[in-house]
């Protein structure tokens, strides 16, 4: 799976990459120690800055799995670690290594290779480590990462530490076997299939041991959790506390994806996924304890390129087989690109540090009649990068969501418009794409974009979301605060507790 950046921490003061989406990395990572920052600075999944510059790829070399999750149907790739219903082409370790080297020759921004499935990489140790071995040898500058359910992690830590693997992602959905029994119907352990609570207890124990062993060896650990309403949603706060106390550097809470057509236990039994608001609320609740990752875009297990783009189709097996590698030349190009980008990022960071406190547009309250507390407002922004509102509503594949309050602006996360079924192919009568998009924006009161068509305008208004194209090409934070100030001035923000009665003097 794939992902970009980390989010802010709760104090919104710092601003940052659009305030977070496209400016400074440091602000988002401000709870993370420097030595870890050094390790992840060019990892596109961890730094919103880096993801505009560096590319990553996944190779599907690990088909076997040793557990069953209720959100997974093994007839497809894992629905929650990659996008639903997409079966990736299985590669041999040789093919995977060659593909990586070809991509890294063609795309000099390539900095990271991940192995995440479609099964569990550590349930396929020979295939996984053979791939890593070849890459450590032929392209030592490429960072390697691996994503696992954790069952075989304690046994694999020594091998992991041998390679150029800079971090491990463990999917930990629970630390309580009673919760686990509702998520994992069985595991394969010591030559037996072990069902129910007993299996979940072993899995949990192995995950925790593996986490501790990685930390002890100096391998960074990120934890992924799938939020399953009514099953582990409350419990994930505990998970976040536990994994942080053991040294995980980042926690990524992702929404359950469950649809009947995926044929999963959750899909068929009607288990729902969380709403965007529920997800954000949980991320907020965990944020006090832990660095939270909010930019995860749940990429496919075989994604290639910069985040948000997928160039996988360009690199077919035929093309890879024929390609003549120039390892040294390619490595030199990557080094050049990396240095240039590092310098640019450094310059930006310094400029930011030198600048006065970042554009936390102070809310001009002078025009307000009342002193009452103003409620926070969520706003969605269509942008194609650069920290400005520069995208047409209809072209946006994702929206950045910000919360404006009296304290300032803070970035909450991404909402993808194509995450869920958009009708058509698989489900006869689903909503139109536009309806889906509007639904995606649930909880937001305003959408800022460069332009918007007549039809979506009407639908948004009907849904209680105000479309706004007046701030095109403006900086996101300034615009969000300006709109917030307008809403305040219009008396729309008085907390819904009691009506403001003070009339203007």
């Amino acid at each position: 799976m794939e992902l970009p950046v980390i989010s802010n921490t709760a104090e919104s003061g710092g601003g940052g990459c659009s305030s977070h989406s496209c400016g400074s990395t440091a602000d988002q990572l401000n709870q993370i120690p420097d030595e870890i920052l050094q390790k992840v600075f060019n990892h596109p999944c961890y730094s919103e800055d880096a993801h505009h510059h560096f590319a990553r790829m996944h190779v599907a070399v690990a088909p076997a799995c040793n557990i069953q999750c209720n959100y997974c149907n093994r007839k497809y790739d894992c629905a929650n670690e990659s996008r639903p219903g997409v079966v990736s082409e299985l590669l041999t370790p040789d093919q995977a290594a060659k593909k990586t080297l070809v991509v890294a020759s063609e795309i000099p921004q390539m900095s990271v290779l991940g192995i995440a499935g479609p099964g569990d990489p550590l349930a396929n140790p020979e295939r996984t480590f053979a791939t890593f071995q070849m890459l450590s040898e032929h392209a030592p500058d490429i960072k390697l990462c691996v994503s696992t359910n954790g069952l075989m992690l304690p046994q694999s830590v020594d091998e992991i530490a041998k390679h150029n693997i800079d971090h491990v992602t463990i999917t930990i959905n629970c630390v309580d076997p009673d919760v686990g029994a509702k998520i994992y119907p069985w595991i394969f352990w010591n030559n037996k299939r072990i069902k129910g609570r007993e299996g979940a207890a072993i899995l949990i124990e192995q995950q925790q041991k593996g986490l501790e062993a990685c930390i002890a060896k100096g391998v960074l650990v990120k934890v992924n959790s799938v939020m399953i309403p009514g099953v582990n949603d409350e419990h994930l706060k505990e998970v976040s506390r536990v994994v942080k106390s053991k040294g995980a550097f980042l926690h990524n809470v992702m929404p359950l994806i469950a649809e009947a057509e995926h044929g999963t236990y959750y899909g068929l039994t009607g288990q729902r996924g969380p709403t965007q608001d529920e997800l954000q609320a949980l991320q907020d609740a965990c944020a006090g304890d832990m660095n939270m990752m909010r930019h995860c875009r749940q990429c496919r297990a075989d994604a290639v390129g910069l985040l948000g783009e997928d160039r996988g189709a360009e690199f077919t097996l035929d093309k890879i087989a024929e390609y003549e590698l120039d390892l040294e030349g390619a490595a030199a190009r990557r080094a050049e690109v990396r240095d240039r980008i590092a310098a640019e990022l450094e310059e930006k960071r310094n400029a930011k540090a030198a600048a006065p406190a970042p554009k936390l547009v102070a809310l001009d309250m002078s025009g307000l009649a009342t002193k009452e507390a103003l409620r926070p407002v969520k706003m969605a922004v269509a942008t194609s990068g650069g920290g400005v509102i520069n995208q047409h509503f209809g072209h946006a594949k994702e929206f950045l969501v910000y919360e404006a309050s009296e304290k300032g602006v803070r970035f909450l996360g991404h909402r993808k418009t194509d995450l869920y079924c958009s009708g058509g192919d698989t489900c006869g009568d689903a909503d139109t794409t536009l309806q889906q998009t509007v639904k995606t924006l649930e909880g937001c009161e305003v959408v800022l974009c460069s332009k918007i068509g007549y039809e979506p305008w009407g639908m948004l208004e009907e849904a209680g979301i105000a479309p706004n194209g007046e701030h095109a090409m403006e900086g996101i934070e300034d615009a969000v605060m300006a709109v917030y100030a307008e809403m305040a001035a219009a008396g729309k923000l008085v907390a819904p507790v009691e009506a403001p009665a003070q009339s203007a003097a």
Binding site: P63, A64, C65, N66, Q68, N70, R74, K75, L90, G119, A123, N124, E126, P185, W186, F188, N191, K192, R193, A258, E259, A260, E261, G263, T264, Y265, G267, L268, T269, G270, Q271, R272, T426, C427, G428, D429, A430
Partner: protein, 99 residues
Amino acid sequence: MALEINDLCVNCWACEPLCPNKAIYSASPHFEIDPDKCTECAGDYADAQCAAICPIEGAIVDELGDALNPPGSLTGIPLQLLMEAAGALEGTAAKVSSS
């Protein structure tokens, strides 16, 4: 006695390395078990290893054609729902109630 892999197999490779007799091999369209080598793990393990890790219900059968992991036994999905889902797949667009 020997087990058999049928066309429900998704070629996930999980069983192949586990077989104590190296009876399992990759083939097209799906993995196969060499009946001359398969012992159903008798003498090696309490449970046939391929069937103990196989994630697909019904994909591994015995000589009588009976599934070692019958429908619902691994996923816990109620039979009624499995049948509805299979029916929906056979028909055209599945009528999906958004959950």
